[in-house]
Amino acid sequence: MTEPALISSLRELRTEAGLTQAELADRVGVTRKTVNTVENGVFIPSTVLALKLARALGKPVEALFRLPD
């Protein structure tokens, strides 16, 4: 299996923050589907969306996403 281009910790951090996908989606102005695809690694978010997600969770963007080693 090929390694993902971006490793996401979004699901863990969202759960830790006690938010549902729909609640997080609402905070950043996207649909639940987009949050779901980012969490599943199907979709690589734009810089703007990554920063919005980080802000919504009160974390630095590096905590949410990292490049594979």
Binding site: A22, A25, D26, G29, V30, T31, R32, K33, T34, N36, T37, V38, V42, F43, P45, S46, L49
Partner: protein, 151 residues
């Protein structure tokens, strides 16, 4: 008291309906074209009613393209329409357009080869390319959206 839905809830519901429609419509569009292709194969002349039907295919194709391009939600608030064309949807749409481009190029090549062996009327070429250019992007979009909606 009537329950008011948030833009996100409305958008999610429309998204699911959009996927269902965009899966069903291209299939119906293809099946409705069966009489056209049967007539072409039998080399019968086109009657007025056939020409009207061909015009209807074109309108149907345009309606499918509008649905793909706008994301639906016409008549809904700007907030709902923005959600219906959010980031992942825009990426799926871009991939769908790309698949349509390749389908058209390959279709042109296939028709070019076929024209070496048989005479192709402009109507056949037009209808074949229109079908490829509409059905392939719509179904690509549906596949991507369905995958994205899966948990």
């Amino acid at each position: 008291m009537a329950e008011t839905k948030t833009p996100a809830e409305i958008a999610e519901r429309i998204q699911k309906r959009r996927v269902a429609l965009m899966m069903l419509f291209p299939i119906l569009y293809l099946s409705q074209q069966a009489p056209f292709w049967l007539k072409m194969l039998s080399s019968q002349p086109f009657r007025f009613v056939d020409k009207v039907q061909i015009g209807a295919y074109t309108l149907w194709a345009l309606a499918l393209l509008v649905l793909l391009a706008t994301g639906g939600g016409l008549g809904r608030s700007q907030a709902v329409r923005d959600l219906l064309s959010d980031e992942s949807t825009r990426e799926h749409r871009a991939k769908a357009y790309a698949s349509g481009f390749w389908a058209l190029i390959l279709g042109c090549a296939a028709l070019g080869v076929a024209s070496l062996f048989t005479a192709l009327s402009p109507l056949i070429i037009l209808n074949a390319l229109l079908t490829l250019g509409v059905v392939v992007p719509c179904l690509t979009f549906v596949v991507l959206e369905r995958r994205a909606l899966r948990d």
